[in-house]
């Protein structure tokens, strides 16, 4: 059996998407600023909703990565199912930021 998506799947206008995204970002940051556990950050309900926004959230996430507001790498990897960060650079925040921003530009995203 083939899985299908109903035609009434909600789509966001860009302004609505950005407003929803920014609200979720602030929710996550407010609740997780003192967290060292990347897992705890990623399972925050706001973070999960950001992942649920899917591909349209990618340029907004890249913007947050560039602004260095938080650890958004998990969300990018979850949505894109790609990881441009070399294994030796795991956790090295500055190099992770460079890798994801380079990836975004190569993929044609603008933010």
């Amino acid at each position: 059996m083939t899985a299908t998506v109903p035609s009434h799947e909600p789509k966001y206008e860009p302004d609505d998407l950005e407003r929803i995204f920014n609200h979720l970002v602030q929710w996550v940051l407010t609740d997780t600023r003192s967290e060292s556990s990347t897992l705890h950050i990623a399972i925050h309900p706001g973070y999960q909703q950001i992942i649920g926004l899917g591909q349209p959230a990618i340029p907004l996430l890249l913007r947050e990565v560039e602004r260095r507001t938080g650890r958004w790498f998990w969300a990018l990897k979850a949505i894109t199912r790609q990881d441009p960060v070399p294994p030796d650079d795991r956790g090295k925040t500055k190099k992770m930021i460079e890798a994801w921003l380079d990836w975004g530009q190569q993929q044609g995203y603008r933010w």
Binding site: R33, S34, A42, G70, R71, K77, K92, T93
Partner: protein, 156 residues
């Protein structure tokens, strides 16, 4: 002390809301807020990586150590840089100590490092580093880091 007075007051207000015992610790902010590194990295004396055993394999974790949020994995991680478990957090000449905090399920939440004067330094998540007098200043339920469940030391 870092930053301007207004920012420091704002940061301290938020920290003390989350860690009420800090209010009587006479602690100090010792770095700007940054996402470059976290408490585990700072306990390991590096400010260039975020250490955590996340299952998505985004963060740094020592090679060969189980990538799991368990006390045994954290002990093993610090053993890779020369630490061994010990009984207490008292200041011992020629030794450096770290303290691992965990929640009620014994899941690690935080690591602090002892300074040569016996005080402790902690990177608070994505907030600033702080220098605090007592390990107990970051303990507590809910938003705090639980309790200290393991101390480790290495010769310096």
């Amino acid at each position: 002390m870092v930053g301007n007075n207004t920012w420091n007051a704002y940061a301290k207000e938020h920290l003390e809301k989350q860690f009420p015992k800090l209010a009587t610790d006479n602690y100090a902010l010792t770095s700007p807020d940054t996402i470059d590194y976290n408490c585990v990295a700072w306990a390991a004396e590096t400010d260039e990586a975020w250490w955590w055993p996340d299952p998505m394999e985004q963060e740094y974790w020592p090679h060969g150590v189980p990538r799991e949020e368990t006390l045994s994995a954290f002990i093993a991680a610090f053993q890779t840089i020369g630490y061994e478990t010990c009984e207490d957090a008292s200041l011992e000449p020629s030794f450096q100590k770290i303290a691992i905090y965990a929640d009620a399920q014994n899941t690690p939440r935080h690591v602090a490092r002892q300074l040569p004067n016996g005080e402790w330094i902690s990177k608070i998540g994505q907030y600033e580093d702080i220098q605090h007098r007592a390990l107990s200043s970051l303990t507590g339920d809910l938003s705090a880091y639980g309790k200290v469940v393991q101390v480790m030391k290495r010769a310096v």
